[in-house]
């Protein structure tokens, strides 16, 4: 059976999902495919969750332009999609006199990039604003437009809004190769059949090099996975309310200490280039690296209060910047290549990819328009993705009202984070259904507290099995092959 689309997006990270959502505004049929069991399973799943202000990228790069433009789009995005986003501002902290000149370099970049609201603060001023910071702090760059968000929430909300507006999302669907008609791409082959489309958009993140090579585009472009490891602290024990960067080095923005919208403090990342694009393991050496890096900023941290560790991979590309005179070889690719038709090619979207994502989606729309696409706005397009109740954030009074209305919100499933059965069921039956443990965890924040799922796992298995009408043995952590349970206790062989 042939299925025809106007747009196929490969990859369900934040970039792919915001593109899907942006395209769902226009007439035409859009499909997003994601090889994993949920959206937001790659680079978007494991990063610092910061919406960067834009002082860091080299001026006149595409990265710089996307970052600054993207940053300004977040208030509207958060308002329409109803996810948590806070412009707390951020600090780049200079420790010791030696690091002070680096702040001036950043300040100059900030001006060139057009970042509003930046200032250089004195050491005492920084220490006044963040009590826990090292006494050796000599100053900081303060960027008031820096923000923090929950990348899962952003991605899921964008995907849902796309689905609400008629886009399709196929999970567990992996791109294999293009279907060509001469030099024109007319569709893709996947593990779940062929899909035809007028346009295919490469938003494959770590695997964007593979996808563009399949189209015969940019054979010299390669993505190197750069691993970043993180520590998460118990919010009852550690409370850092600010976003604190060290001064940057060649390895990137460095190991930071940052607040999250959920109240936990996180440390990380380090940055180590590895070979395997699926190796998200944490390492002993890496964890030590983060530890010493973070203690440079906040000496009082104690490992005793760590409640989670994780690692993510950034897709570091090698695309040269197109601006004449700018010597930079890790710029973003956002283009309609000439070699083939029907292909929008993205690549190397590493940090600040999260901050840039709404601008990238807009850039894709602009490219399509330039290529002659009419893109008529749908009459019934609804930009609003309604918020769902979050018991943990409510007052006792509001909780009572909610439970009176629907008693399922009265049953607490995650005791650390106060997530209720009502919230879980709502996610299982949402426009983009959550069908794995991790999918529910990312949407509700269940299992992220001190007991790390020890209490809720048996209950989630039971609820998922009941709501999906399957056996508990089929319930997975993150898709097929990650089943929690293997057989009934009494079925012993031999």
């Amino acid at each position: 059976m042939q299925e025809k689309y106007d747009f196929i997006i490969i990859g369900g990270g934040v970039v792919g999902c915001i593109i899907a959502r942006t395209l769902s505004r226009y007439e035409g049929k859009a499909l997003l495919i994601e090889k994993q069991a949920d959206v937001c399973m790659g680079t978007t799943a494991a990063n610092t969750a910061i919406v960067h202000a834009g002082y860091d990228p080299l001026p006149n790069t595409l990265k710089a332009r996307m970052n600054v433009k993207g940053n300004a789009m977040w208030d509207q995005l958060a308002g329409e999609l109803n996810f948590a986003f806070e412009r707390r501002g951020d600090f780049v902290v200079a420790v010791g006199e030696d690091e002070l000149p680096a702040l001036d370099v950043l300040m100059t970049q900030a001006k060139k990039n057009g970042v509003p609201g930046c200032a250089i603060l004195s050491g005492p001023e920084v220490r006044r604003r963040e009590k826990n910071i090292t006494p050796e702090t000599s100053g900081a760059l303060w960027a008031s437009t820096g923000g923090i968000c929950d990348p899962f929430a952003v991605t899921v909300a964008a995907a849902e809004n796309a689905v609400m507006n008629g886009a399709e999302i196929k999970l567990n669907t992996e791109f294999k190769e293009f279907i060509m008609d001469g030099s024109r791409i007319i569709g893709i082959k996947t593990n779940r059949g062929d899909f035809f489309s007028r346009w295919v958009i490469n938003a494959a993140g770590l695997f964007s090099d593979f996808v563009m090579h399949q189209a015969g585009v940019r054979p010299e472009f390669i993505i190197k996975p750069r691993k970043g490891e993180y520590f998460v602290f118990d919010q009852a024990d550690v409370q850092i309310d600010n976003v604190l960067f060290p001064v940057p080095s060649e390895k990137g923005k460095g190991i930071l200490v940052t607040a999250t919208v959920h109240g936990n403090t996180i440390l990380g990342p380090n940055a180590n280039i590895i070979q395997d694009k699926t190796d998200t393991s944490t390492t002993l050496a890496g964890m030590e690296e983060i530890w010493s890096g973070a203690r440079k900023l906040i000496p009082s941290l104690s490992k005793k209060h760590v409640i989670a560790t994780f690692a993510g991979l950034r897709p570091m590309g090698n695309a040269p910047c197109k601006t004449p005179g700018v010597n930079y070889n890790a710029d973003y690719i956002i283009e309609i290549p000439k070699e083939v038709q029907g292909f929008v090619n993205l690549g190397g979207i590493e940090s600040p990819g999260l901050a840039s994502s709404p601008a990238i989606a807009q850039e894709v729309v602009d490219l399509l328009k330039d290529a002659g696409e009419e893109l008529r706005v749908k009459k019934d397009w609804d930009p609003i993705r309604p918020a769902r109740p979050r018991f943990r954030e409510m007052s006792q009074k509001d909780r009572k009202l909610l439970v009176d209305m629907d008693p399922r919100y009265g049953r607490i499933i995650c005791r650390c984070e106060n997530v209720t059965e009502g919230e879980i069921i709502a996610e299982i039956h949402a426009p983009l259904p959550a069908t794995t443990y991790d999918a529910i965890k990312r949407r509700t924040w269940l299992g992220t507290g001190r007991c790390q799922g020890g209490f809720d796992t048996p209950r989630i298995v039971e609820i998922l099995a009941r709501e999906l009408g399957v056996s508990p043995l089929e319930i997975t952590k993150l898709g097929k092959g990650s089943e929690f349970l293997l057989r009934p206790t009494k079925n012993v062989e031999g």
Partner: protein, 425 residues
Amino acid sequence: MLLKNTYDVVIIGSGPGGLAAAVEAKKEGAQDVLVIERDVELGGILLQCIHNGFGLEIFNEDLPGPSYAQRYIDESLALGVETLLDTIVLEVTPGRKIYASSKKYGFVEINARAIVLAMGCRERTRAMIRIPGMRPAGVFTAGTAQRFVNVEGIMPGNKFVILGSGDIGMIMARRLTFEGAKVERVLEILPYLSGLTRNYVQCLQDFDIPLQFQHTVKFIHGKKRVEAVEIAAVDENWNFIPGTEELIPCDTLLLSVGLIPENELSRKVGVELDPITGGPYVDESRQTNVPGIFAAGNVVHVYDLADWVTLAGYEAGKGAAKFAMALRAKETAHIPVNAGKNVHHVVPQSINKYVLEQDEIELQLRVLKPIEDRSVIEVHDGNHQIVRRVVRYVRPGEMNTIKLKPRHFADVEKASSLTVDVSPR
């Protein structure tokens, strides 16, 4: 079930500590005792501890966890302890108001004269000991696995490595072996056993399950499900000794790496915690620094035997009941004195009945209508007469008096109000 607005003693948690506290609070005279349990039935973790070894201290019998629990469940229900199941306490206030939530009972607000915290403890997790590697399915704490195997009836794996020689870890090694799984290895980072010797003998030695001291997990392999763990020897500072690495293929890693008292509620209400035990500072009656809030069992410090938890529960239940009853006495000490038959008013309008323990109280009254003959002024509690006085006549224009004396205290203490009547003799 109709919930009362106020209970004498509310117990949070129905494990051995909570049930013992409930039973003892009742025996000590608390009238309204409520146990709030987050699971769907009473008994706490005892219900999944189906192995023997409980009750040796208290009953001098070797019982499985559920049997031990059942005795206390039956006893507490027989004593009239009320229960709220499948209900989680969200918050306790210093004024001892409790916010709780459940699907069946909805959002619940209850006042308690005394509270016993008996939330038990939770297991330390992979993250707390920072085991490096991938994050696949198949890493469970021993207690979570125990619940799956013994209560839900599903095996979380077939080939196990167990980290930690705590009791739950060793008991699970035997239990999993009983159900046809293979336990490849038990690892202990310390140079000695964390759990009880009898568990080593009966759970590991009996089934030839190898235990290695001064070894731990160095890396977890497997992208979706655990495929293997790399283990290695450590020195006395827990540093890995190079060259001792070994890869053990398995589908599940169980963690039995310690328990931590569960004190989220305690912390929020201002209960001061001992950084050494992780539980509240308590006095001999198991009272915390917050008046009327008691704590017992693993919520205070982690015990090796449930029997000791029960004994601590008794202490807390007793302390809580005494506190509640003293409070109830104070709350009910002031009772109204009503103007009854042919009485216009009485002063004082209310009395603190405990004053009568030592002093007398004079009631002053005026009648409505004159009685020009011998009349009786009577004080009663609605049913029984407490004191009477005969006077020659009564007239509205003249005040009359009647005295309550210490010898009337026993009667007055039981009364919820007093009434003064005046009638012809």
